[in-house]
Amino acid sequence: MTEPLPGQFYMVEVSKGLDPLLKRAFSLFRRTQDGLQILYRIKGKGTYILKDLKEGTVLHVMGPLGNGYPLPSDSESPLVIAGGIGIASVFSLVEKLSKKAFVFYGARAEQELFMTDAIESFHRELVVCTDDGSCGVRGTVVDVLSDFIGKRDAMHRPVIYACGPNVMLGEIAKTATANGIKAYVSLEEHMACGIGACLGCVVKTRSGYKRVCKEGPVFDAGEIVW
């Protein structure tokens, strides 16, 4: 098995039948001693099927696919930002960066936050925020980020790694550009093949459409036309 990098993804079969037909793309959540973990929110047909699978069910899985997050250099300070289920993509990065990383993690409400204890156990700073204020700061990760940048005297050369809803990523990109900070974002699009053939999952960039599955899913935020 090829060792996955944080930010890479897998195409996962959800049924042996013809409906649903296509594999689903899931970020690597965690690489553990005995395998791979994915984290998903039950949302559509595919994830409804996954949640009801019996332990021991064998599914065809393809990957790791795509490009992971470029790791920070020793002189850079990583800021990892997750919105909602976006934690699935950045969690393994947070694990890898360990105490180096600042982590901002936002969700709509407390019950949508996962693994905060695990993150807290190996990080010097985790800021949690919720839209409804049910946990942590009331507000969004974008508010937290702006605040943080305002008083970052001690921090040199920050670099942002973010995954979450597109609106959030667009705001982070704007904030990063305005403050001259490098930012990497992991994007999500509907995928058919996951290997660059169908051209279904494209995103508009400054140099034309690019495939999320092949040139991404991690992109330099400044490249994306938001």
């Binding site: 013809l18 037909l21 296509l22 594999k23 699009e189 995928m191 053939a197 051209l199 999952c201 508009k204």
Partner: protein, 305 residues
């Protein structure tokens, strides 16, 4: 004994009847790390136009029951770049390379055919006529038999390569289009292209594709495709390449019995990059089990009427 798998598409001899459907196999290289391309009868590459095309805005694909809708918008790198950057790789394989192409005018089709015919390592051409004609109010070339005849005749004069015309299913009578293409000089016919469809998000009331409508592919369209292959087989004499929702060797064999000489595998490549090779193996197993020595003897053998 080993079953005889070779088939002829006009002058083009394929080592077996399993090809890839244009638009589902990139330029071949995307799949080379998953399968041995030499196992295929032919690689049919993503549709090309003389100039590069950017394609449609996303979302471009959406899954539907037993199928998917796509509106990629014919994004491609253009014929020049294909010849320089992609064809040398394909030439390293011992499999036939068929290039799918299109234009937005009769002139562009002719230019595309000439450019591709001059390139080394292109063994056949497949014309996509399911795209709009800029010179005729953006109506689709392949839905009018006169326009089909005109554009295929024009291309026929510009190439000596085996010429396959890919028919649109979005017509009242596909055998009329098939006859027009054959009278204009097509050596073979591919059918079917995708079936025009639409899906709407009932919460936002917006179409699920940015392009509003798209082409339906996958097992959902297979019975439509099998019926059309059967009708066209009874209408013309040229070989038919059958496609539309082929997921397994059983599906492929069904198309051959309906009248196809060869088959193309499309959406199944997305589900499993190894689908084509599995289908070749399955056809061999079927032939051995049924005592069929030559795959050609199975074409059009449906006991109907």
């Amino acid at each position: 004994m080993t079953p005889h798998l070779e088939v002829n598409i006009g002058k083009l001899r394929l080592k077996n009847p399993v090809m890839t459907a244009s638009g589902t196999f990139g330029y071949g290289e995307e799949y080379a790390e998953f399968i041995d391309l030499d196992r295929l009868g032919a690689v049919v590459v993503k549709g090309l136009s003389p100039k590069p095309k950017e394609g449609n805005p996303p979302p471009r694909v959406v899954e539907t029951a037993a199928g998917m809708l796509n509106a990629i918008g014919l994004q491609n790198i253009g014929i020049d770049r294909f010849i320089k950057e992609k064809l040398p790789f394909l030439r390293t394989y011992d499999t036939s390379v068929i290039v799918n192409f299109f234009g937005d005018s009769v002139d562009e089709y002719m230019i595309a055919a000439e450019m591709l015919s001059a390139a080394e390592g292109v063994h056949g051409l497949e014309m996509n006529i399911s795209c709009p004609n800029k010179q005729a109010g953006w109506c689709i070339f392949g839905t009018d038999p006169k326009v089909t005849f005109e554009v295929v005749s024009a291309v026929r004069k510009r190439t000596i390569l085996p010429l396959i015309v890919k028919l649109s299913p979005n017509v009242t009578d596909i055998s009329v289009m098939a006859r027009a293409a054959v009278e204009a000089g097509a050596d073979a016919l591919s059918l079917i292209n995708t079936v025009t469809g639409m899906a709407i998000d009932i919460r936002t009331r917006r179409p699920k594709l940015a392009n509003v409508t798209g082409g339906l592919s996958g097992p959902a369209i297979k019975p439509v495709a099998v019926r059309m292959v059967y009708e066209v087989f009874n209408a013309v004499e040229v070989p038919i390449i059958g496609m539309g929702g082929i997921m397994s060797s059983d599906d492929a064999i069904e198309f051959i019995i309906a009248g196809a000489t060869a088959v193309a595998v499309g959406t199944a490549n997305f589900v499993d990059p190894g689908a084509t090779v599995g289908i070749v193996d399955g056809i061999i197993a079927y032939m051995e089990k049924e005592g069929i020595e030559d795959i050609g003897s199975l074409t059009g053998t449906v006991h109907a009427g």
